[in-house]
Symmetry: C2
Subunit: 318 residues, 2 copies
């Protein structure tokens, strides 16, 4: 099978929303009047973002999910994406599974695969997503105001615990069900697209948690020129994480990346609205702290415990 | 230096045309009314598309150039791009040169770097470009008509000869000036952006030559449901290529990729218009054959010489 055949077979499916789909030098796309285009690119590298022997169907899912998460964090509705893929070999079983995982998530979000590139090389998945957001309604990072509440969706720290477990299985006492849950959290993150759309007009700032709260929140604070106080005891922990001693669980929740939950701020008068949309979407939305005028990110704990030094984000070159 | 510092230092420059540039979860972009968005993604892999020790400034140029070439082939005006970059190490000298080469070309085309991703991994450069093209005026591959002339811009085969020369220097008798010319053609291709814009309303179909005439033209023929007759003696050869025996030069010109010239079709009544815009832009535009109703790509040579078997495109997995 040639490169061209592989593209045809695994990466072509109907793209009714595109003016021109794959197969030409460029795809053509319409942006309706009154909408802005939101664009984000994310690259996943074998051995760095995933294990070389990762289930390819999950990988196809996750590679698109982390990109959709960026649209969610912007309050943008997914529209289309391009996929550039470097493959060490043309393994049709692998490609079929990868394509299946990606397509299922893409179709669930009506997000068309409109173009891309395939080449030989060390496994690398590079996706660019396009979304639409009504003019001026994007959830940016620079809108947080002093006094705003800080929220996190779902639970955090699970993906990092799953990664630790994968790296050091003998040390971990988790049940089969717990392990399956953790693996799901690491390998099949659910981008919070509906939540992002619902937060338009409610949140003052938002971002997604890819590198961990301790690494990501400071970017929002810097963009908004403010600080934050975060309550360690308020961090939303899964039932699996709650089996750990508190400081260990907090460290995972604060510094663990790859959860793809949304972090957002909203004024106190929106508390009822936030609670209502959490119920409506069936997504836990937990208030973990508030925005301060004092710069920096300050962690507090009612019990007096402190967990400071490991509370830093994941740096790909560290 | 952390990943974040590296991005800040080398991949942030003013983006006055973006509604929101890098630093948030997504960039935001406006597409004016009446314009379509043209999108293309290309991935360059070390050891496959370039040598690991390639001059990084040239590499920064070329990585963007091959993407701009896709916009040119569509008749789209470059607007913005995202850059996803996997780096084996944070080498500031390398990054400075790479960034310089890329930025110079980007600014020459008023093309804003609006976002991207940086990670550790085997060297991989993945770019997605955005361009604007007036509604319905894109140069697609599927518009060629029987009887249309087939044109190629500039000269072709040079990049392939440069690659052969780089791989087997002792076999090549080229002067220093010739070698410099060839290296320039391979490492610093000039995307034919102005030509693509000028061909709107003149060309019936267009594409860029990245994999070579023999590999690329069949895609245009298939999209347009027609065939072509191409005259080997008409292929535009540089003075360097003309030093070779004709069959060898033709093989390079027909099957060599990486030239990033434009291949396009136009009706015979546009010959004067094509000639005029070639003069105006100072770009040689050579008529190399014509579109036929007989399917397939047929090479002809007045001298009776045939060069068939090596006339195939470059397949990344062959």
């Amino acid at each position: 099978m040639t490169e061209f055949d592989a593209i045809q077979r695994f990466f072509r499916w109907p793209t009714p929303t595109a003016s021109l789909g794959p197969g030409d030098d460029c795809a053509l796309w319409e942006v309706p009047a009154g909408q802005q285009l939101a664009i984000s690119s994310d690259m996943l590298v074998s051995g760095r973002h995933f294990f070389a022997d990762t289930d390819p169907e999950g990988l196809g899912h996750k590679a698109l999910a982390v990109n959709l998460s960026d649209l969610a964090a912007m309050g943008a509705r997914p529209q289309a994406f391009t996929l550039a893929l470097a493959l060490p070999e043309l393994n049709t079983d692998w490609l079929a599974a990868f394509s299946r995982g990606m397509r299922r998530l893409a179709e669930a979000h009506h997000c068309a695969l409109i173009g891309g590139d395939t080449t030989a090389g060390p496994l690398n998945i590079s996706i660019t997503v396009l979304g639409h957001v009504p003019q001026g309604q994007a959830l940016r990072r620079d809108g947080a105001q002093v006094g705003d509440d800080i929220y996190v969706s779902g639970s955090i720290g699970d993906a990092r615990l799953a990664l630790q477990h994968a790296l050091q299985p003998p040390l971990s006492p988790w049940s089969d069900a717990d392990q399956a849950y953790l693996r799901q959290r690491l390998e099949r993150p659910s981008p919070r697209v509906d939540l992002g759309l619902a937060l338009r007009g409610v949140a003052t700032a938002a971002m997604d948690l890819s590198d961990g709260l301790a690494g990501d929140l400071p970017h929002l604070l810097k963009a908004s020129a403010c600080g934050a106080q975060v309550d360690l005891e308020a961090l939303p922990l899964s039932t699996v994480l709650r089996q750990l001693p508190a400081p260990e669980a907090w460290t995972l929740a604060a510094s663990g990346g790859d959860d793809y939950e949304l972090l957002f701020t909203a004024p106190a008068h929106q508390r009822a609205a936030v609670a209502a949309l959490g119920r409506q979407l069936d997504v836990p939305l937990t208030r973990i702290g508030h925005i301060t005028s004092t710069p920096g990110l300050h962690w507090q704990s009612a019990s007096g415990l402190q967990a400071t030094s490991p509370l830093q984000g994941f740096d790909h070159f560290a």
